[in-house]
């Protein structure tokens, strides 16, 4: 016998087998409870076939028949842009109020953290419904929702980025007699700026997709067009809009990826 206790492989195997069995049973119970039967996709396939028949070919005339499609695309893009910009700026300020190395007063940090958590726990679809009731449907509600969502998901991330910067340079700056604001300006901001901008680009990418979804719920933009086409049963328009959305999302994602890589990559100062 060895002096060191180890978990024997046979015991490991028993543990894994138990976990597998238990999760299989839970999944089965959930499927039965929800009446979810994957086989139905095949037995009821004629519904899908009929729908697909109505959806093809996509009616791309909506792009040039009138200007509403083009405008709604621009509307969605600007919703995502403004939501990211305002949300990102507010998240940036809140992050400094919540980070231990920039805000010495614990009370302020806790209040900020609680405020941000409150924003984060409300689902976006609930927020947009509230704004649609409060200020009416349209892209204004959409932008307000995106601002809230962006603050909720990025303020905490920014706080962590700020707290993870090297503390050494800050100590050196304090030791030449600088104030806390000067330390933030000359040590923390230069260190966090690249990842801050990279995260905002990512936020734009996420918000772009969210803006489409929010449109369906009254947030304006191309999502709203989609909802309209669906409710008047113009399925060929729906297909065209879906393909346009897919292309738009891919383009935005590629662009933000490209810019992010350029910013995060080390370069020489100009």
């Amino acid at each position: 016998m060895s002096t060191v206790d180890i978990i024997m492989p046979s015991k490991r195997y028993k543990q894994k087998a138990t976990i597998f069995m238990v999760s299989a049973i839970v999944i089965l119970i959930a499927c039965i409870y929800l009446n979810f039967n994957p086989i139905m996709i095949f037995t009821e396939f004629h519904y899908v076939r009929d729908l697909l028949g109505e959806m093809f070919m996509p009616n791309y005339q909506i792009l040039y028949e009138n200007t509403s499609t083009g405008i709604s695309i621009l509307q969605t893009l600007s919703m995502a842009f403004l939501g990211t910009l305002y949300g990102g700026l507010i998240a940036f300020v809140l992050a400094f109020l919540a980070a231990t190395n920039t805000m010495p007063y614990k009370a302020v940090r806790i209040i900020t953290q609680v405020f941000v958590s409150m924003l984060r726990v409300i689902p976006a679809l609930v927020v947009v419904l509230v704004f649609v009731i409060a200020v009416g449907p349209g892209s204004f509600s959409g932008v307000l929702t995106l601002v809230i969502v962006t603050i909720g998901s990025f303020a905490k991330l920014f706080t962590e980025i700020i707290e993870n910067v090297e503390s050494g340079p800050g100590e050196a700056i304090f030791s030449v007699g600088a104030s806390r604001l000067q330390m933030i300006r000359y040590s923390i901001i230069p260190q966090i700026m690249p990842s801050f901008i990279a995260n905002l680009l990512y936020a734009f990418d996420v918000n772009m997709r969210a803006a489409i979804g929010l449109g369906i719920f009254g947030g304006g933009g191309i999502g709203f067009q989609l909802q309209m086409a669906k409710s008047v049963l113009h399925y060929k328009d729906v297909t065209a809009l879906i393909t346009i959305i897919i292309i738009l999302v891919i383009l935005v994602e590629k662009l933000s990826d490209y810019l992010r890589k350029r910013i995060l990559g080390e370069g020489k100062l100009g």
Partner: protein, 266 residues
């Protein structure tokens, strides 16, 4: 001139980290503090510019007008005023890697310029020219526009020295400035620090008795939170053993514990 009197620092569990440290360093002196690990060298140095507050004792430092300030009794505002003229060089360089070399040097004057100006406008052209002169003194002017993160360790420490020079300090502190560097870079750094001590007191913490013997004008040894030696930088073997005794003994123990590797022939 800097006067250190009766510094003590005790942990909550009663362990004495500093136990009455006294010394005075005048202008023209380059004092090297030696001692085994955990003796309180770095702790003492951190008390000298108020990064750490001792439980008791005083540290008198002169500002640029020759006025004396007790760092241990200073308010936050006074402390910032005194620190404006205390240059500090750290073991880890502590430069902002995302900023240019020149900007890192100019940071040395942040305490001396108004906060509003530093936040809104930044530094002036005149300050940039003076910072460049400081960089020339450490032979780094040619890299002034480069990103600091792209420099080597020796180069970064030279920039840190330029930052301290740019402060026009009345006191220079160095916390293990050569511990991360190879021997030739370490010599370059020591050669750069030494002439600064002609006009101001310089106090540094070191781990290399051979370096302090060569470049310092005086050595202070700290052991168990007390000054055990203060005088000539050239230490006899007897003194060295007194200072590093336990550490040396421990090292020998390890040497015995490591078996000699056998040569395996393939």
């Amino acid at each position: 001139m800097i006067e250190v009197k009766g510094l003590t620092k005790t942990l909550p569990n009663g362990r004495k980290l500093l136990n009455g440290i006294d010394f005075t360093v005048k202008k023209g002196e380059f004092v090297g503090i030696l001692g085994p690990s955990g003796a309180g060298k770095t702790l003492t140095l951190r008390c000298l510019n108020g990064l750490l507050k001792p439980d008791e004792g005083s540290v008198l430092v002169e500002d640029e007008h020759g006025e004396k300030h007790d760092i241990c009794q200073s308010s936050k505002k006074q402390l910032r005023h005194v620190r404006e003229r205390i240059g500090v060089i750290f073991q880890g360089y502590h430069l902002v890697k995302r900023l240019s070399v020149l900007e890192n040097v100019m940071i040395g004057r942040l305490g001396q310029i108004s906060t509003i100006r530093s936040l809104v406008y930044g530094f002036t052209d005149k300050e940039a020219e003076e910072a460049l002169l400081a960089l020339e003194k450490v032979k780094m002017a040619h890299l002034a526009q480069n990103r600091t993160g792209s420099l080597s360790g020796g180069e970064m420490q030279r920039v840190a020295i330029a930052r301290a020079i740019f402060q026009s300090p009345t006191l220079l502190l160095a916390d293990e400035p050569i511990s991360n560097l190879d021997p030739s870079n370490a010599k370059v750094i020591m050669k750069l620090i030494r002439p600064l001590s002609e006009n101001i007191p310089v106090v540094g913490v070191f781990h290399q008795p051979e370096m302090t013997a060569k470049y310092c004008t005086r050595v202070i040894a700290i052991k168990d939170g007390q000054v055990v030696y203060d005088g000539d930088p050239k230490l006899s073997n007897k003194t060295l053993e007194d200072i590093y005794g336990e550490e040396l003994a421990q090292m020998e123990q390890y040497e015995h514990a490591i078996p000699t590797p056998e040569i395996v022939r393939i």
